[in-house]
């Protein structure tokens, strides 16, 4: 077993969406605006209100936070002082477990040594850089600054500031990317010796620049055959470099999985704050509006900016737990599906999936096979 844990923590996870970037990358479909001082100030004001409201309503049921994750957007478009304040609010309103994982997403271009030191001092103990590629031409094509060497500096500064736990995000199947250049990106990434690497197959989402190019015919859909080869290459090279694949897109040094992200797949609770952030608490899925103006309005008038809200029944919770748990290399413990027999249709679907070689069941655990990992969504549709 890779993870050697069956629970992330007794506490709750907290995700904070920081909806600002300096520029929008061509593949990005997340909710964000271009960073401006006044926007950031207004956002922080609303965020504090939101934290306060949840604390007042005790959404997390008095449980402390076991993981905190600031994502975006680019959280480091905010100053270290602003980010430290956010962490201070979180600590005072919710309480944070002593050994909590506190992750900050960062853009290699937006950090200085001084800032990183202050962030480490404030308590952030994990940093995640969006690297995407080591090839300048590939970076340019997706609207990022074509300066791959910058990551070496960023990683070094982070280490000097005291960050040991460090992730690098990569994307494969980029426009114009060859298998060779992907190998090179992988090798250079491994040479940087991070504790964690995420490798995402490029997906062209609606509303992105890439999608527009696709519709116009000036770009092609990522080639799934090439992406599959790239995925194999990633698993191989990262394994040789000492990284274990613990989820479909995630690799880590032993003992360094992203504990916050594990919550998404291990059916554990998380609260999401900031525009467009999603929550899952006590079997209830709810999500914030993805519009800063509406977000501000709601909080100014003392309301939570929740747009959709759904309480799942226990059967539904079990099914979703199964679908997301299967993404983990270890799969999931059969008993986490709940005691008693599985519903007949789930049982039938599982048998069918096992017959087709997509799922395997052994030693009290169910997991996707290597082929099944490529068709995780097809499997999900069968099991929901």
């Amino acid at each position: 077993m890779i993870l050697k844990i069956s629970r992330v923590s007794m506490g709750v996870g907290l995700y904070i969406h920081v909806p600002f970037c300096r520029t929008r990358c061509h593949f990005c479909a997340f909710y964000l605006q271009i960073h401006r001082e006044d926007r950031a100030e207004a956002y922080l004001q609303s965020l504090e209100r939101e934290i306060h409201l949840h604390a007042a309503r005790n959404t997390t049921g008095s449980r402390p936070l076991g993981t905190v994750y600031l994502g975006g957007g680019t959280p480091t478009t905010l100053t270290s002082e602003q980010l430290s304040n956010v962490l201070a609010w979180v600590r005072s309103y919710f309480g944070v477990e002593e050994d909590a994982e506190l992750t900050l997403e960062a853009h290699p271009d937006t950090v200085t040594g001084e800032e990183l030191e202050r962030l480490a001092e404030a308590g952030f103990n994990r940093i995640s850089f969006g690297l995407e590629s080591m090839d300048d031409e590939e970076l340019r094509r997706i609207g990022r600054s074509p300066d791959a060497r910058r990551i070496h500096v960023a990683v070094q500064l982070a280490r000097e500031a005291g960050f040991v736990n460090l992730n690098l995000d990569l994307i494969y199947g980029l426009p114009g990317q060859s298998l060779d250049s992907w190998r090179s990106t992988l090798d250079q990434t491994i040479a940087l010796d991070p504790t964690h690497v995420s490798c995402y197959a490029l997906t062209v989402e609606e509303g992105t620049r890439l999608h527009v190019d696709l519709v116009r015919g000036t770009a092609n859909e990522p080639d799934p055959v090439l992406q599959n080869a790239m995925e194999d290459e990633a698993e191989d090279r990262l394994a040789r470099g000492g990284y274990e694949r613990y989820e479909i897109s995630n690799y880590c040094r032993p003992g360094f999985p992203c504990r916050h992200n594990l919550r998404y797949w291990m059916n554990e609770d998380y609260l999401g704050l900031g525009p467009s952030a999603q929550s899952y608490v006590n079997g209830r899925r709810f999500g914030n509006v993805d519009d800063l103006a509406v977000y501000h309005d709601a909080l100014e008038s003392g309301r939570l900016p929740i747009l959709q809200d759904e309480q799942l029944n226990s059967e539904r919770q079990r099914r979703e737990a199964l679908v997301f748990g299967l993404r983990l290399t270890d799969g999931m413990d059969i008993t986490t599906l709940g005691a008693g027999p599985r519903p007949a249709d789930v049982e039938r679907a599982l048998t069918h999936l096992i017959d087709r070689g997509l799922v395997e069941e052994a030693a009290g655990r169910i997991r996707l096979t290597a082929v099944g990992r490529r068709f995780a969504d097809s499997v999900a549709v069968e099991l929901l």
């Binding site: 995402y200 897109s249 998404y264 998380y270 999603q278 999500g287 997301f324 969504d377 999900a380 929901l384």
Partner: protein, 599 residues
């Protein structure tokens, strides 16, 4: 009083304003108040309303105070408005003495107008031309009059001009009904003789039958007999629709109304049947009764095989209400247990299928529609084949015959070339070409029915920008060089997709169908080879490439919200798929034959 009864129908092409005119009659005579007024009240069923056509005939009594100072009872008998229901139309007309021939002043005479007018002539009805929509700027009253005279030989000197929409000329029409349509003949002293021209199933009353009393009288408590099958019933209730259902003491000679007599299914008395006094029967049935034979057959299967019995129940219930469709259990290697069903035409098939899905919450697979072929075997036996997979091996077939229809098409002159091409492509034989006026042409063709049921009507509409109209009737069977075309998926024949076609058309049809199937079959985790074959000879091949991957790369908070919605939708979509071997086929793939186009 018999002399003060008028029984009449309105015959018209779709959209020429029949329902609006009927509504105006009801309004003008105060049969319904404005508040009760629902648009087009005669079309009671939702499905009819949605499709804008009348499926079942209905009859409504209108009490009218005429300008001669006397009160008249006008029975308006509505007729179905589609080519699939010709027999029902003819029986409704047989219950009348007269008909209003309603023609849209902006459209002119259409194929259905002519077909129905001929049915009226055949029933010796007094036909009164009524020109509607005269308020529209594009109305061509003189042109339409000319067409009516030219094509139907009707005297148009006293044609009536109306705008049903604006309520203009309505009283004049009612006056003409009184003055020009003769009162019903018939002898009240004779034994009961009543024509059944419609029936439907009511959950509380059982079957309700609409009749026209030809001779004698019918009363509650009477013992009556259906002359087609000799079944006897006791009348429990009679009455009229005005338009609300209203009980009466009886219906006498010349009158039109409904009868309840404890019949459990519509098949107990079919349309065109004669009801008579069981004790003192009439000596002769009303002429013209025939068993309606379904022309188009297909297999109906539930996508969820566990719901076979539900499908059977639903078919049974629908059949209570519609004796013109038939069903019997069949088994398909590909689809399992289902039913072979016969319909009057493709529209009738779609209506039944839609009602089964909508009213009984079923998800159905429909196999390729087929006509009924006649096979003379080498042993001299005669077989009727309503399922292509049941066609005997070629070596045991002496002769194969297919049903042939005579078609009337009316079109603006500029599209004639397109239509000649279409009919020729469909193996048509031209029988006539007549100019109705300098701009409109009536074409008569003999066509094999199997070339018409699938997409002929759609093709005709698209080749004439929607202007052409069509009517047809079956004229018999004719020997033909037919072959069975099979579709194979990954080498396995899918019996539900087999169909019979003319040898000359097989190559093109096979290729088109394989191409269409390729479009309709979603990518699976493996390659799907689609082949079209005649016997062992493959005539077309297409391949649906394998899905290489289907996995969400990022699966965190926001992604989870989006994906679980998407997966939920896909799961719903999967319920509408049928697994054949390893291949998952969507419902539409089974009807791919309907979707292939010639060009």
């Amino acid at each position: 009083m018999q002399t003060h009864i008028r029984n009449f129908s309105i015959i018209a092409h779709i959209d020429h304003g029949k329902s609006t005119l009927a509504d105006r009659f009801l309004e003008t005579t105060g049969a319904i108040t404005a508040r009760e007024f629902r648009e087009q009240i005669l079309d009671a069923m939702d499905l009819e309303r949605e499709r804008g056509i009348t499926i079942k005939a209905h009859a409504v009594v209108i009490r009218y105070q005429a300008s001669d100072g006397q009160g008249y009872v006008l029975n308006l008998i509505d007729t179905p408005g589609h080519v699939d229901f010709t027999y029902e139309v003819s029986r409704s007309l047989a219950a009348c003495e007269g008909a209003l021939l309603l023609v849209d002043a902006t459209q002119g005479v259409e194929a259905q107008t002519i077909a129905n007018a001929h049915l009226a002539f055949a029933n010796r009805l007094r036909v009164i031309p009524v020109i509607n929509k005269i308020d529209l700027p594009s109305a061509d009253i003189e042109g339409v009059k000319h067409q009516i005279q030219e094509v139907l030989g009707l005297d148009v000197e006293d044609a009536l001009l109306v705008s049903a929409k604006e309520g203009r000329g309505i009283r004049e029409v009612l006056e003409a009904v009184v003055a020009r349509i003769p009162p019903p003949a018939g002898d009240p002293e004779k034994p009961l003789k009543a024509l059944v021209f419609d029936s439907w199933f009511d959950n509380y009353q059982g079957v309700i039958v609409l009749i026209r009393v030809v001779d004698g009288m019918i009363r509650p408590g009477m013992k009556i007999r259906a002359m087609s099958n000799k079944r006897a019933f006791e009348v429990t209730e009679v009455g009229v629709f005005s338009p609300k259902r209203t009980r009466t003491d009886g219906l006498s000679t010349g009158e039109v109304g409904y009868v309840c007599a404890g019949m459990r299914e519509v098949a107990d008395t079919k349309i065109g049947d004669t009801l008579t006094d069981a004790v003192r029967p009439t000596d002769s049935a009303f002429a013209g009764y025939k068993e309606v034979k379904p022309l188009v057959f297909c297999g109906l299967y539930s996508t969820d095989t566990a719901r076979f019995e539900d499908l059977r129940d639903a078919l049974q219930k629908l059949r209570l209400n519609d004796s013109s469709f038939v069903y019997e259990p069949e088994t398909s290697l590909a689809l399992g247990f289902g039913f072979r069903c016969g319909f009057l035409g493709l529209l009738h098939m779609e209506i039944i299928r839609e009602r089964l899905e909508r009213e009984y919450d079923l998800t159905l697979i429909t196999t390729s529609p087929t006509v009924v072929y006649r096979v003379i075997t080498t042993a001299g036996k005669e077989l009727y084949i309503d399922n292509p997979s049941k066609l005997p091996s070629l070596s045991s077939i002496e002769r194969l015959e297919e049903p042939v229809i005579e078609t009337t098409i009316i079109t603006p002159e500029r599209f004639v070339g397109n239509i000649l091409q279409l009919c020729q492509d469909r193996r048509g034989v031209q029988k006539g070409l007549q100019y109705l006026d300098p701009t409109r042409v009536m074409l008569t063709y003999e066509l094999p029915l199997n070339e018409v049921i699938l997409d002929f009507y759609d093709r005709l509409k698209s080749k004439t920008q929607g202007y052409a109209s069509l009517d047809y009737e079956l004229i018999g069977y004719r020997e033909s060089d037919l072959v069975k075309l099979d579709i194979l998926l990954n080498g396995e024949t899918v019996d539900a997709l087999s169909f019979i076609t003319h040898r000359d058309r097989a190559q093109a049809r096979g290729r088109q169908l394989a191409e269409k199937m390729k479009e309709l079959i979603p990518k699976q985790m493996f390659e799907v080879a689609i082949q079209a074959a005649i016997g062992n000879k493959v005539i077309a091949r297409e391949t649906v490439g394998a899905l290489k991957k289907n996995v969400t790369a990022k699966c965190y908070g926001g992604d989870i919200t989006r994906k679980r919605k998407l997966w939920e939708k896909q799961k719903e979509g999967k319920k509408r798929m049928k697994q054949v071997g390893r291949v998952e086929l969507p419902q539409e793939a089974f009807l791919a034959l309907l979707k292939v186009t010639d060009d």
